[in-house]
Amino acid sequence: MTATCVDLGDQLVAAASDPWALDRAARGHVERCLRCQADLVQHRRVLRALQSLRTEVLEPAPGLVAEILTHVEEAGERQAIRSLLTGRRAAYIGGLAAATAAAGAAGVIVLASRTRHRRLPLAG
């Protein structure tokens, strides 16, 4: 393989889909080099073969639609359960916070009333 053939390797890959990928010197070499011409033809055949796969479909084994729909449904249910749990958790935490606040408030009231009771004899 000549140095030019080696240098052209990448350009030949690109030239398979884009005829303008070869510069003037490269085109001149390809016009004279049978190996590079053969390489270019092979690259083009690979590309054509790949493009021909576009119209080919691979049939899945039966049951895929059912699997997909079950997967979607289960994920939907999981999400619903999760949001329900999140809602319950929020309600629980809210309730706990309210109870704590109420207990605190009650404590303050009791303390305040005790203080008032203690002060009464002194005032009399």
């Binding site: 390489d39 690979v46 790949l50 021909s52 796969l53 699997e67």
Partner: protein, 192 residues
């Protein structure tokens, strides 16, 4: 298809089910080509439709629905293969049904084309997943370099480099070099 999509966007689950029925074979085909095996392809397809179901409200119709679904599938396949759970490179199964939807060709050309398709399919299976994904999306599904890069989470230049490598490997696989590797120019034949 557009009417089904519109109904699915309004929350009609029956319409979404019909969309799945209408598109799942093509989606599976892409997933199968990207992953290289049936089990992974089925997982990818399920994830792709779940993602489509959740985000169908954001589908604006600038591209075809199938193109939108292909991009989701490519993204799911990339994620799935990235997990590195099951990187198998199984040969194409004998019982895999291949359907050619092209118009009839003359028998000779058809046989040649079929042979070439078989060889390129086999060569694709041999490629590392990262190279295979790029060449499948570009050369079979005609996705732009930018779209491929976006869905695979790589740069555009990395996508181009991978495409180049993939095409080169496919060619080497399909047309193994036979000679001594010397360039042949007219008049060079037989010259030591």
């Amino acid at each position: 298809m557009a009417a089904l999509v519109a109904r699915a966007q309004e929350g009609d689950d029956r319409a979404f089910e019909e969309l799945v029925t209408a598109t799942h074979v093509e989606t599976y085909t892409l997933a199968r080509r990207l992953t290289g095996n049936d089990d992974d392809a089925r997982d990818v397809v399920q994830d792709a439709y779940l993602r489509a179901y959740r985000s169908i409200g954001r589908f604006r119709g600038e591209a075809r629905f199938s193109t939108w679904l292909y991009r989701i599938t490519a993204n799911c396949a990339s994620t799935h293969m990235g997990r590195g759970r099951r990187h198998r490179h199984d040969e194409l199964r004998d019982d895999l049904v291949v359907v050619d939807t092209r118009p009839d060709l003359d028998p000779g050309a058809h046989a040649d084309a079929a042979d070439l398709r078989d060889r390129v399919s086999a060569a694709l299976e041999e490629l590392p997943p990262k190279l295979r994904a790029v060449v499948v999306l570009r050369d079979i599904y005609d996705m732009s370099h930018d779209a491929i890069a976006a869905e695979l989470g790589i740069s555009t230049s990395a996508a181009k480099v991978r495409l180049h490598r993939a095409r080169r490997r496919l060619k080497e696989r399909m047309f193994p070099a036979r000679g001594d590797g010397q360039g042949i120019e007219p008049g060079d034949e037989g010259v030591e």
